[in-house]
Symmetry: C2
Subunit: 300 residues, 2 copies
């Protein structure tokens, strides 16, 4: 089934306690697409400037990612993010953001994208996410991400968007901010009652929680002793999850849990090197082998 | 098989963001014993003052916990701890500690306790833990807990103890302090190489990790939206784990993982009210039912 993602396409500079990597391929839609492409063809919609290296597009295109929705703005510059990780590799600080061409970008879907079955609204304002959603004809499954900025500054628009979503993916601090509830189990269900049929709370190194009307569960992160760069892990998780669902063609309770597990496994590779460097060396059998180990790990 | 625990027996005053509870029955050996008693008879060794209410001893004795090793010091006062939890209910601050009779306590095992198959050395200095261990004839499984104070102040004694242990249970911040390693997977294996055959790192609301020479896994906490008082959850976890192992009579890889799961389930009840209040209302079938839900939660 067709899977469409709309979100940021970026250049990242990443500082970790032990290394610095300048101008790495990044952005929510990029990490999402790459992860999803292990499972299903992906349609990528986003915007870059003319500083965008052609080889990045080539890399994505080589992965069964349709980049015809990637708009290049002549004379513009690509979204740039510079961040620094704390020694625990979980907390991070934004050192610099240049929105550039992403700042006033309103996605316009190519005609053939308007019929997409699976839609992921990655990082973007709820207004932009809603305008994107309205361009898709009868999608089967709509899932969105959000972030603290929109929770604080576009609260009403976000609540309006929630009513149109099947699923919402957000991280633990965002769930707490949105609900003013410290307990994540209570927060997850509170977010769900705002509209989405299911909610996934990402907890970074501690895994992810799932909430639907009749289900509550938590899956741990896959334990890895090699955490080099967590940037994009959350988007990669969402990509693995949505890619699996799109390939599977179903999104019942069982499929959703397997999708969560694949998302967790994909993300565990993402963090093992900067940007997409680790992912570029991964093949689908690596994912399946790690999923099997993960499944055994959780069996008793 | 016989299960012996040696550790603190205490009176706790607990401040949470929404409530205060004064002079609650607590202490590592108490929480451990109560949790373990769902699975196997327990021998409790500890010390209290003559301020200790007789009904606490009666409660423990009613649970198949042998309290003949609980020493009452006439004219002495029981170990007292006062703590305050942060709004996240995971971080806490110690407001007051009175070691009282626990301060210079050296456990002396009753003769019939010296032959115990399963031994848990709960909260205590490594010197005291070692002196206790030396009184037990050929135990089958020896597991200890430790804490930041001993890591900082009795490091050499702790390392000597590690070489005598089958298992060590400690929390995430303690593992990081001990190894100066931020990544918990790396830290867990590093602690293991210091001596214990297996290491369990407790992560509070995020569950627990297991490390042996050939195994690494993580199990999430059982998700509960009712976290009233996390005091004793770690000891309760250890009690559930050791109680299950003692009842099972084996400690192979499979038994250890089931034991971890039972520990997690028991701890998930402990946090649902102050002190032992929730536990007092729990029966073994409640544990088994929650374990089944937990197992299903982790199956995909």
């Amino acid at each position: 089934m067709s899977l469409l993602v709309v979100g940021s396409v970026a250049i990242d500079s990443i500082h970790t306690p032990t290394a610095v990597r300048e101008r790495v391929l990044g952005g929510s839609a990029v990490h999402f697409s790459y992860a999803a492409s292990f499972f299903a063809p992906v349609r990528l919609v986003g915007v870059v400037g003319d500083d965008w290296p052609a080889e990045h597009t080539q890399l994505l295109a080589s992965r069964n990612i349709d980049t015809s929705g990637l708009k290049v703005v002549a004379g513009g510059k690509t979204f740039f993010w510079k961040g620094k990780y704390a020694p625990n590799m979980n907390d991070r600080e934004t050192l610099e953001v240049q929105l550039n061409v992403f700042g006033d970008y309103l996605p316009e879907l190519p005609d053939n994208y308007r019929r997409s079955d699976y839609l992921f609204l990655a990082n973007g304002s709820p207004i932009t996410q809603m305008k994107t959603l309205e361009q898709v004809e009868k999608p089967k499954l709509v899932v969105a991400d959000t972030m603290d900025l929109w929770i604080r500054e576009q609260h009403e628009d976000l609540l309006a968007l929630f009513k149109r979503l099947d699923g919402l993916v957000l991280n633990d601090s965002e769930a707490r901010l949105l609900t003013e509830e410290e307990n994540l189990v209570a927060a997850g269900h509170q977010v769900r009652r705002m509209g989405p049929k299911f909610v996934v709370i990402k907890k970074g190194e501690h895994g992810a929680m799932f909430f639907s009307e009749h289900e509550t569960y938590v899956l741990p992160a896959y334990p890895t002793d090699r955490v080099v760069d967590p940037t994009g892990a959350g988007d990669s998780f969402a990509g693995g999850m949505m890619g699996y669902l799109a390939a599977h063609g179903q999104f019942d309770s069982r499929a959703l849990k397997e999708a969560m597990a694949y998302g967790i496994v994909v993300a565990s590779f993402t963090v093992e090197d900067f940007g997409l460097d680790r992912m570029k060396k991964v093949e689908r059998p690596d994912l399946d082998a790690r999923l099997q180990r993960y499944r055994r790990m959780l069996s008793f």
